[in-house]
């Protein structure tokens, strides 16, 4: 494994013929490099091309154009059964007519591993997923969570170069999901295998991944570490899809070095730090997270806008205030409920100020 990258997608295109006879690019010229040993997530809403990308890496679909390399070896046209990857399927796809032992041992059997060796390694794999002694059960006799672990063991026992996971936690209830998220992450560190994880759950992706690719409409919009994606989203879509974001439409008034002054018509002017260069008069969107705003706390950061509270929503850890500025821009402000007992900073209809530093927002153009 001399190659630094476990998987490389080079300008990969996948077109499907729709039932209406049109052509749909499920994956539209995607290029990404997944490092060896990393936990990499493909994140996006349904139909964004994340599953199709995974299926092309697995070999269930062949790309229309472009290349897929696994540890430097061209794999684009290699059939699935000859690829050094294994998959954990969304609905687990365990073989219902086989026992747990036969299911987990299937890959080894295909490789021609002798029965005794196989059964030894199956018990080890069952230990690893903490389901020892389950050899003779049938998949139907197991709970969803157990089936999930069996599917994981069935894939990992083959020591794949890359493990592909297609929304493996989607069918589990919330509590079990959270547990499995941590367990998967721990397991990944232990076995040191590259994981490629498809999910539409942004929280799941942020929690588990070393890096995330955010996809939409067949395109990888941004690839980066979780904090990079969250703190510095590249596009409006990314900012909106990952966490909550307030979007304020405005026009660039001036730029002084890294400080950009943006006019929010009717609501006031804000200063935002940006490494990019803008032209005066350019239409932009200022994106800022609700938790980076503070209510009635002037002097904290430099930007202050006046508005009126339209709604107050108590959500346990935080209270969310909906504030409308004069120029009809509306923002959500999140204040943590730190003190004991719930105390509202403002009530519906109150005149308030909303402040934030010039480092908090991002200026987005697309």
């Amino acid at each position: 494994m001399a190659n630094e990258f476990a998987v490389e997608m080079q300008d990969v295109l996948k077109q499907f013929v729709t039932p209406e006879g049109g052509i749909l690019a499920a994956v539209n010229h995607v290029t990404m490099q997944i490092k060896d040993g990393e936990f990499f997530s493909l994140l996006g809403p349904s139909g964004c091309g994340k599953t199709t990308s995974l299926r092309m890496i697995a070999g269930f679909e062949l790309p229309t154009d472009g290349k897929i390399l696994i540890h430097g070896k061209e794999m684009s046209q290699v059939p699935a059964f000859q690829r050094p990857v294994n998959t954990v399927f969304q609905q687990y796809a365990l073989f219902p007519h086989m026992t747990v032992e036969q299911n987990i041992g299937f890959g080894l059997e295909m490789k021609g591993v002798a029965r005794a060796e196989r059964s030894k390694r199956v018990s080890e794999a069952l230990e690893m997923v903490r389901l020892p002694g389950m050899e003779l059960r049938r998949p139907k006799q197991l709970s969803g969570g157990q089936q999930q672990r069996i599917a994981l063991a069935r894939a990992l026992i083959n020591k794949p170069e890359v493990l592909l996971l297609d929304e493996p936690l989607g069918a589990l209830d919330l509590k079990l999901r959270k547990e499995m998220q941590l367990e998967l992450k721990t397991l990944q560190r232990e076995v040191g295998i590259t994981f490629i994880y498809v999910t539409h759950d942004q929280e799941e992706a942020l929690t588990m991944s070393d890096r995330i690719a955010v996809m939409s409409k067949g395109v990888a919009l941004q690839i980066g570490q979780p904090e990079e994606i969250y703190e510095r989203p590249a596009t409006k879509f990314v900012a909106d899809f990952i966490g909550e974001t307030n979007f304020l439409d405005g026009v660039v008034r001036s730029q002084n070095g890294s400080i950009v002054e943006v006019d929010l018509p009717g609501s006031g002017t804000v200063q935002v730090e940006s490494s990019r260069t803008f032209t005066n008069g350019q239409a932009v969107t200022v994106a800022v997270r609700p938790e980076k705003l503070s209510l009635n706390h002037e002097g904290k950061g430099g930007n202050t806008l006046k508005g009126r509270v339209e709604e107050v929503i108590y959500i346990g850890t935080d209270t969310q205030y909906g504030v409308r500025f004069a120029g009809s821009h509306k923002v959500r402000v999140r204040e943590q409920n730190i003190t004991q007992g719930h105390k509202e900073i403002a009530k519906t209809g109150d005149e308030v100020t909303v402040s934030f530093t010039n480092l908090s927002p991002r200026i987005l153009t697309e």
């Binding site: 059964f81 294994n86 399927f89 219902p96 069935r154």
Partner: protein
């Protein structure tokens, strides 16, 4: 059992089950009892049975030893009937095998189509049932005849110089039977294959199984119930078939069905025909039960 039919619920149940049960009793069980009776008596001179009945085992003995009959000539072959039975079973196996071999890929192909196409193709499979079986068999005869469609076609293409002998032999009978019973193989196999989750084939490929291995280890075992149903639905009627061997074989291919048919017709030997019917029924029943017992474990697992 009788406790079942007590009270008001019992009356309703009786009302629902009664007519069907009565029908089976009068038109199915009773005739079999009559056949059973006839098989144990001597034949009448002009068909029917001798009256008053004279009980005998001769009809059964005759099946296993054709020369036991008082009518048998000096060149009689004592294994004649057993031989015909054997060749019926052999033809039954050949036809069943072909029906499954041809029907399975076809069922698979149909199941992979989009809904609209799937329905259309299934209707095409079923359409032949809307036409009389006899008429269809005669039509097929025209295709295979010496001056028939197939021969003229091949002659015109100069692929052959002389017409092939496609009719009035075992080949013709087998072709006729495959044609007639293929839908009975397709329907149950299609039902099984359509339910099959194709993700499992991807899972098998993902774990390193070649398409052949994936088919043998995953898809075939899981669709086995459909194959077994096809086997029974084709094999049982084919072994006892008489219209197809009669028409396509032109009297030259003897099967147990044509033999039985003849006993009730020209041979006017009802008791022997009855005995053969019961022997056929019994042997097929034993065969099917044996097959089910040996394969249920596998089948049950697949389901």
């Amino acid at each position: 059992m009788l406790k079942f039919f007590r009270g008001k619920k019992g009356f309703q149940l009786l009302g629902l089950l009664g007519p069907g049960a009565l029908w089976m009793l009068v038109f199915f069980n009773l005739p079999i009892l009559i056949v059973l009776f006839i098989s144990f008596v001597e034949r009448g001179r002009a068909g029917g049975i001798k009256l008053p009945p004279v009980y005998t085992l001769e009809n059964y003995v005759q099946f296993f030893n054709a020369c036991s009959s008082q009518f048998s000539g000096p060149q009689c072959d004592s294994l004649l009937y057993l031989g015909i039975f054997g060749s019926s079973v052999r033809i039954g196996f050949i036809v069943t095998l072909w029906c499954i071999l041809l029907g399975y890929p076809l069922s698979y192909f149909i199941s992979k189509q989009r809904q609209l196409w799937r329905d259309a193709l299934m209707i095409l499979v079923i359409i032949p049932f809307w036409t009389n079986f006899l008429v269809r068999t005669y039509a097929l005869k025209q295709v295979l005849a010496t001056e028939g469609l197939l021969n003229s076609f091949l002659m015109n293409l100069h692929l052959i110089n002389q017409p092939l002998d496609l009719l009035f032999n075992e080949f013709a009978v087998i072709i006729g039977l495959i044609y007639g019973y293929l839908p009975f193989a397709i329907l149950p196999m299609y039902a099984s294959i359509e339910k099959f989750d194709h993700t499992l084939m991807e899972a098998a490929a993902d774990l390193g199984a070649s398409p052949r291995q994936a088919f043998l280890r995953v898809m075939l075992p899981m669709t086995m119930p459909g194959v077994v149903a096809a086997l029974v639905l084709v094999f049982v009627p084919v072994v006892g078939a008489f219209i197809t061997p009669d028409i396509m074989g032109g009297g030259k291919v003897e099967m147990i069905g044509t033999l039985i048919n003849r006993q009730f017709g020209v041979a006017r030997n009802w008791p022997f025909g009855s005995a053969m019917s019961l022997i056929l029924m019994l042997l097929v029943l034993i065969g099917v039960i044996y097959y089910f017992r040996s394969s249920t474990e596998e089948t049950r697992r697949a389901m």
